[in-house]
């Protein structure tokens, strides 16, 4: 209860500038989420903290804007036939367990090594996972682009074909996105890992989407749309957990939601104009850039833990500011690529329409 009272007294005052700032960050975050299935959250938590919102309230409020946003995004993309609800729910439930376990690990690390230890763990998780997964996705997107078969339908990977070929009686479920039956014994660990990552770095989609594409064999568009269902399930459970402790600042959550609902609709529309490999390009780029942002913070936490020479206050400030700026740059770059691809797609469509009209006229 003590925490609750403290949290309530820590709800910040809102002025017009703060509201506009949160609205814009929400919009850009929503735009990227609508396109790749997740990805706005890692900027929102630090953005709120930079306004003086306590860490836990920022995490809780972020989560409480995430689930309604994901719901609207999922509904929009379901209209385009991109959502596999069953796969989303199956993965979402195991992701929920992953979130709880991930939060438990975080608490233990915090108890044992303090805030700096916990921050170091988060940053190292960021760097290692984003380097491996982000690098892999970018390489794959690059190969598709180089091979010139960006227009062709995506093929399932060898791993996905193997996963789809395994038959474990009693555990097989048909998923329409895979057009195959897959054992839930494969989906459970993937969902669990997604949830653990969500609890650690706030963006479970960086595991969820690539695992649906490369391990299960879902097309990129369906994987990123289905991730929104996972985010909804995870976010709803997580928000309720935090709300039980009175940590959600509903004003912050709803203001971010105001911006992000504009963004997520636009991002979802954007997916209908692009070639599927663009999902991988945007996701991979954001992951690799964010990796550098978090990498810069590693020395700060190492020095706080006394593992390396203490850094001067000025150096810490420069590293922190640069890290935050890189993170925002990553999100803006993602938003720029989405908008540009959409613009080009629309132009091409209009041109095609004009041609059709002309040809029709000739006949």
């Amino acid at each position: 209860m003590q925490d609750v009272v403290q949290a309530v007294s820590n709800f910040i005052n809102l002025d017009a500038v703060t509201i506009i700032y949160l609205f814009i960050v929400g919009f850009v975050g929503g735009l990227v989420s609508g396109f790749i299935g997740s990805g706005g959250a890692f900027v929102l938590t630090p953005a709120m903290m930079s306004l003086g919102v306590p860490g836990l309230v920022a995490v809780a409020s972020n989560m409480c804007h995430k689930f309604p946003k994901a719901l609207i995004g999922a509904l929009k993309r379901a209209k385009y036939g991109q959502v596999d609800v069953k796969l989303g729910i199956v993965l979402g439930i195991s992701a929920e367990a992953g979130v709880l376990y991930g939060a438990h690990i975080q608490e233990n690390i915090k108890k044992a090594f303090g805030d700096a230890g916990s921050n170091l763990y988060v940053s190292v998780a960021f760097v290692v996972i984003l380097a491996i997964v982000g690098g892999f996705i970018l390489r794959d997107a690059w190969k598709t682009y180089r091979a010139g078969n960006a227009h062709e339908e995506e093929k399932a990977t060898k791993l996905a074909k193997w996963v789809q070929s395994i038959n474990i009686p009693g555990t097989m479920v048909y998923f329409k996105s895979l057009n195959a039956r897959v054992s839930v014994l494969f989906t459970i660990p993937l969902g669990f890992a997604t949830g653990m990552l969500a609890a650690t770095i706030a963006v479970g989609g960086f595991i969820g989407v690539p695992s649906m594409i490369y391990v299960l064999g879902a097309p990129s568009l369906m994987a990123s749309a289905t991730e929104l269902v996972i985010a909804f399930v995870m976010g709803l459970g997580g928000s309720f957990k935090y709300a039980m402790s009175g940590l959600v600042d509903i004003r912050l959550a709803m203001i971010i939601l105001a911006g992000s609902l504009f963004g997520i609709q636009l991002g979802a529309i954007g997916t209908t104009y692009v070639k599927p490999f663009m999902i991988k390009v945007v996701m991979g780029l954001i992951m690799v850039i964010v990796l550098f942002s978090r990498g810069l913070m590693v020395p700060v936490y190492l020095s706080q833990l006394g593992l390396i020479q203490t850094l001067s206050e000025g150096t810490v400030k420069i590293l922190k500011t640069t890290s935050f700026a890189i993170m925002i740059a990553a999100l803006l770059l993602g938003a720029f690529i989405v908008l540009k691809a959409m613009w080009q797609g629309r132009k091409a469509e209009e041109l095609q329409h004009a041609k059709d009209v002309l040809e029709h006229g000739k006949v």
């Binding site: 209860m1 609750v4 369906m222 709300a243 509903i250 004003r251 939601l257 504009f262 469509e349």
Partner: protein, 86 residues
């Protein structure tokens, strides 16, 4: 607006946008004008946890409908040619 968009068969959802927009603005006004009461109640935790969750659903329903119509009215819609999705 291009000539292409003028050919869109469906009527633009102006009415929906306006009604949903007004409701969304009213919801936000109510939230921001009663910040203290809302924060005190929602921050109590326990069974009160349902309040922020319900609020989130209500806001997303009306504001989501508004933003959807907003982009449609602006002529920003999904690609006409249905993409092949397995």
């Amino acid at each position: 607006m291009s000539g292409y968009n003028k050919n869109v068969r469906k009527k633009k959802p102006y009415g929906n946008m306006i009604v949903m927009g007004i409701i969304a603005i009213a919801l936000y006004a109510a939230l921001l004008l009663n910040q203290d009461v809302i924060n005190n109640t929602f921050g109590k935790g326990g069974i009160y946890a349902f309040l922020p969750i319900i609020t989130a659903f209500v806001f997303s329903y009306f504001h989501g409908a508004f933003t959807g119509s907003f982009w449609t009215v602006l002529g920003i819609e999904a690609a006409k040619k249905k993409r092949e999705v397995k």
